[in-house]
Structures are given as C-alpha cells and as structure tokens.
C-alpha cells in the first residue's frame, strides 16, 4: 500500500490517542475501584445498582425503626417489670395485713406503704422514653394517667392499640405496650381491672382497718398482677419480632451491598493488570510513533 505523509502522521497520532484514552479509562477504574461509575459504563448494571440503592435505603430505614422500637420496648418492659414488682409487694402487704393478728396501727402504717406503691405505679404508667409517654396510646406528650384526678387522661376503651411502624417489606410491628390493656378496666373485657384504683382501694381498706375488705382486695391485686404480666408477655413477643425484623434488615443490607458491589465494583487484581497492560500499550504506541515518524529520505538525500 502506498503510504502518504499525512496518513503516517494520522495513524501515529491515532495510535497514541487511543492508547492514552484507554489508559485514562483503566486509571479511572483502578483509582475509584469502580467498574461502573456512571450509567453508560454498564446500563443494565447501573439500573440494577439503583434499585439496590433503593432497597438498601429502605432496609436501613427499617433497621433503624426496629432499633428504635427495641429500645422503646426495652423501656416498656423495664416499666412493666417494676410495676409487677410493686404489685407483688402490695400483695405481700395485703396478705400480711389480712391476718387477724394485725392491729389498726400496723394497718395504718401499711396503708402509707401502699400509698407509696400506688404513686410509684402511677409514675411508672407515666414513664417517658425520649420525651414521649410510652403508655400513652396517641398523644405521647400528655401523661396517660392524671395522678391528681386519679383517672386515665384518655378514653381507655377507644384507644387500646399500640403504635405500628414499618420494619420490613410489607411488615409492620408494634413498638410498645398498650397502657389500656396493662393498667385499665375496659368496657369490652369483664376480667380487666383498673390497677391504680385497686391499689387505692387496698389503701382505703387498710386505713379503715377492714379485714374482710383487705381479703377481698387480695383477689383483685392478683388480677391486676396477671393483667400487667399478660401485657408484658405481649411486649416480649413484640420485642422478639422486632429483633427478628432487625436481623432480617441487616441481612438484607449485607446481601444488597454485596450484590451492588458485584455489579459495580472492579476486581482489584484485574483493574491493576489492565492498567499495566494499558501502560505497556501506551509506551509501545509512543515508541512506534517515534520510529515511524523518524526516518525520511530527507535524512539521506
């Protein structure tokens, strides 16, 4: 083939340009560690990586919801546990004071103790977690129990549900326990009992030194104890579900991250061997260009 001067220069220029652009590409991959940096590098992988980013963001939101729920349920469990202990103490006092050997003075002293127990229980019903009353069903900024009035501050029959949040794909979980179910007497449930009222009644019976009334209260106190325990059990189940959900989210996160990495991250060994190949090509292109453009007849004629 006849080789012309412009052709010679263009071919050399092209070869050097190609080698340099290839080197820039491989450098980019080696430096960022990403095989796919933008959509056109691999459109299908980029689109899937976008969906995986989406899924990771969702899973991470679910994980933090589950974490928050766990800490809220932990606070709930602590409070319910303490309430149980207080009721247990009240029952012990009631059992002791139901004995014929107790006199009015002793019962009066016990009444004071039960008064303390009651106010502790009321405080526990109004427990706060991160600025919210955890046993308040809806308005978590108003104490659920009005300690001055001695009643619940909301309609315990209407609001029995617990706040639900998203903790997984199409999975919601209750984060907390129902104050109504744990502490209140509800219209739909004949066995339910108002815990602060039971304690107030016991105190009144002790103050009036009425042995039969005290005996009668023991039964109620047992019912109150069972009622709190039942809600605590439900909260425990919710906690387990949350722990499971959190684990599932974490697993999903790990899986999504590794899938995305498979799609967009470069294999380091390959990236560097490509880079060194590109460097060699670059050197070859420059050397060859220099040799091709070097000798002309002008040098000899």
């Amino acid at each position: 083939m006849r080789v012309t001067t412009q052709q010679l220069h263009r071919t050399s220029l092209q070869a050097v340009n190609d080698a340099r652009s290839r080197m820039t590409e491989t450098q980019q991959v080696a430096m960022t560690g990403k095989r796919v940096a933008t959509a056109s590098d691999d459109p299908a992988a980029a689109a899937r990586a976008r969906m995986l980013e989406d899924l990771q963001a969702t899973a991470s939101a679910h994980r933090s919801n589950a974490s928050f729920g766990t800490s809220r349920l932990q606070a709930t469990d602590d409070a319910l546990n303490e309430v149980s202990r207080q009721i247990q103490r009240a029952r012990e006092v009631a059992l002791a004071m139901a004995s014929d050997s107790m006199n009015a003075e002793q019962r009066n002293a016990a009444a004071a103790e039960i008064g303390e127990v009651r106010s502790t229980v009321v405080d526990l019903i109004n427990t706060q977690h991160l600025g919210e009353y955890i046993f308040a069903p809806v308005d978590t900024h108003t104490p659920p129990y009005d300690s001055a009035g001695g009643t619940f501050s909301y309609d315990v029959d209407t609001f029995q549900d617990v706040r639900r949040v998203d903790v997984g794909p199409a999975q919601q979980a209750e984060i907390g326990a129902s104050g109504s179910r744990a502490f209140a007497q509800r219209a739909g449930s004949p066995t339910s009992i108002d815990v602060p009222t039971v304690l107030a009644d016991l105190r009144a019976s002790l103050e009036s030194n009425d042995r039969d009334a005290i005996r009668a209260e023991i039964d109620n106190i047992s019912r109150a104890f069972d009622q709190v325990l039942a809600e605590r059990t439900r909260a425990g189940v919710r906690m387990e579900r949350l722990t499971d959900a959190k684990q599932a989210s974490e697993q999903s996160l790990a899986v999504y991250a590794s899938l995305e990495s498979d799609l967009v991250d470069a294999d380091a060994a390959e990236a560097f061997s490509q880079l060194s190949l590109a460097q060699t090509t670059m050197q070859a292109a420059v050397t060859v260009a220099a040799r091709m453009l070097g000798p002309t007849l002008l040098d000899v004629l």
């Binding site: 459109p43 976008r50 980013e53 900024h141």
Partner: protein, 458 residues
Amino acid sequence: MSLQQILSTGRSSLLAHQAAIATATNNTANADVVGFSKRDTHLVSLRDQGGVEVESVRRRADRFIEGRLLAEKSRLGTQSAQSEGLAALELQLGDFEGGIGGAMDQFFGALRALQVSPTEGQSRLHVVSSAQTLTDQFNVTAERIARERQQADGSLISAVNETNERLQALAELNETIGRAVANGSEPSHDLDRRDLLVGELSESLELTALPQADGTMTLLLAGGRVLVQGGAAAQLQAQPDSGLGGLARVDFVDSSGATTDMTSSIRGGRIGGLLELRDDILAETVARVDALAFDLATNVNAVHQAGFGLDGVGGRDFFVAPVAQAGAARTMAVAPGLVEDPGQIAAATTVELAVGGNDNVLALAGIADAAIANGNTATLGQEYASLLGSIGTTVAAHEQALRQSEVQVDQLQTIKDSRTGVSLDEELIDITRFERAFQAGSRIIQTAERMFDILLQI
C-alpha cells in the same frame, strides 16, 4: 534528424521536467494541507519531431471512496453533535447513588423515621428538608436538561448558518469549475476546495454528491431534495417558533423560494443530530422526569390530603399541586405552609389521632412500594431506575456509534490518503528523478552545441 531537432528535443526535456519538478515541489509544499490531492505530471513523447511534453497535470481523485467517506462523515457529524448534550444528561441522571434517586430514597427514609415518633419536631423537619432536597433535584435536573436543549438549539442555528454559507460557496465554485471545464482545463485548486466543502457539508447534513458531466456537482439532501445544482443553492432557515416553545424550526427553502418545514424529518449529519438531541432524546427524558415528578407529587398529595396535621387540620397538599404534567419537575416545590410549619405534615388519619397518630405516615411511606409511576406499572424507584438504565443505554450506544464512525472515517481517510495524498519520500524521489532528467536535458543541449561547433570548424 537534424541538429535543430536535437536542440529542440533538449529544450522540450528541460521544459517538461521543469514543469514536473514544479508539480512535485507543489505537492511537497502542500503535503500538510488538508484536502489537498496529489497532482501527477503526465508526460508524453512528441510524435513527429521527437522530445517530450507535459500532456496534463492531473489531480488524483477517487469518487467511490469519496462517496463512502461522505456518508460516514455525516454519521460522525450526527454522533459528535450529540456528545456534549448526552454527557450533560448523563451527569445529571446517570448517577445511581445520588441525584433524584438518592433524594427519593432519603425522602421516604425520612417518612419511615417519622413513623416511630410522629410528633417529634426534628423528625418532621427532616421530612420537610429531605422533601426540599428532592424537589431541588427535580428542579435542577429539569433546568439542566432545558438548558441543554437551548444549547442544542443555539448550535443548531449556527450550524444552519454555516451550512447556508457553504451551500452558497459550493454553488459559486460550481460555476467557476463549470467555466474552466468548458474551456478544457482542470481547475485542480477549485476541485480540492470543492471536495473539502462537500466533506464539511456532509458533516452537517446527510447528503448525496452527484458529479455531473459538465464538471459541476449536484448535492441532494437525504430524501431527494436538491441542495445545490449548478450555480443555484437551496437554503435552510432556522427561526424561533412559538409552537416549539421558542426553539428554532428548520425550514428548507429551495432555489425558487418555496419553504417546507423539515424540523422533524432532517435526522442525519450535525444538524440532524442536534435536532434529534433537542426534540427526541432530551425532550423525551424531560417528559419522563416530568411524569415522575407529577406522579410523586399527586400521589403524595392525595394521601396527605386524607390526613391531619398536629393542629387537627386536614385536606392540605404536601407538594404544591402541579398544574400539568408538562413542566411538573421544573416547578415542583414543597407546599409553603408545610415549610413554615412542619407540624402541618398530616401524620394521622383521623382528627382524634392528630397528635400522636402515625397511620398516615405509614400510608405516605407506602407510596414508595406502590405501582403509581409510568401509567401505574412501576414503583417510583423502578421507574427512576429504568430511566437511568435507558439513559445509560442511549449514551453507551452513542459512544459505541461515535467510536465506530471515528474508526470508519479514519480508515476511509487512510484509504483516500493512500490513493490521493502526498508522500514526501515519493516526491523527493520524483524531484531527484526529474532533476536528473533536467540535467540530462541540458546535456543534450550542450552536446548539440558542441556538434554545431565541430561542424562550424570544418
């Protein structure tokens, strides 16, 4: 053969080789001139009296390669006209970690976080600020694409103007060449210039060049409209059109002055590439981004209106209700009342639960999982991923085609160069050869002179 004849043979050799050296030096001097075709000196021997003469100095040409090169240059013109616009598009929408997609993730993430404590001020603020980031992303994306469309429009207008000048110049060259050919000469310089012009024109438009018997060149636009015939040139006209939102309409004005709107039919070359970028690629992308913004805003608003804010008021919009789907992304904004008071976020489904209820936040976050986009066939996230994928495909296909065209043009150019270009080595050899012949010619004259002397001494 007389001595006189020997002398005139020597003279013809001197003249012929002087002309040959002149051609070779001209070739050497023009070795770097783009579009220069090598000239060959064709020598013939004089039949009757002996000696040599220059029959012609002819310019090398290869019509076949020239034709293929034109077609490929027009493809290259199309692709390279779109490079900038597509790069900008990918910069805005090709990032699978950030951009609108990332902002959507954050917005729905903020809504999910609000579920756990729907009354908390910080969480509400976070929802509002992430919604603002999202609307910013939509605004900026729509704005950038609009700007790219405008830029394509500006490039289109200047490409049309340049093309018009070249068409006119080609028609004038046609006349000059036609006259020269009629006189029986080969106007090599003008032919070089015309080939260069046709090459440049084929980068702007997809066209066919038909050399005519009278030496002129007829140019046809793809589809058969006559661009240049003899000394008459058609023109393109790019004028802002209100029907295109102020962007330019491209009219074809033939040499008789009749106009035809060709905005949607010119697709080859740089002009076609810019039209395709402006009216197809960018316009379709903006429409998809608009649809995404519209679906997001209207669906969030519908759910939000059904709920109640901390103040127990319901029926409010979350985003400023979009007037129409077209332009929804550019004008997307969070409702001003909500920005002022994040307490207006309707977290609860009933007025009784206004403070502390979170059912409506569950519903709002659920929008992310509902098939509400792309005619209710995909979730917002899926639609965005598909948009990102299709932009990636467009850009990747473009890069591929651009590389291919570059290689093609380069190869054809190499073949053309090989046939018609200048090789310095070759010219140097020619010059040496002709120099020797010139020396030989002068020796003939010397010899004849000595022969005359000898004769005169008798």
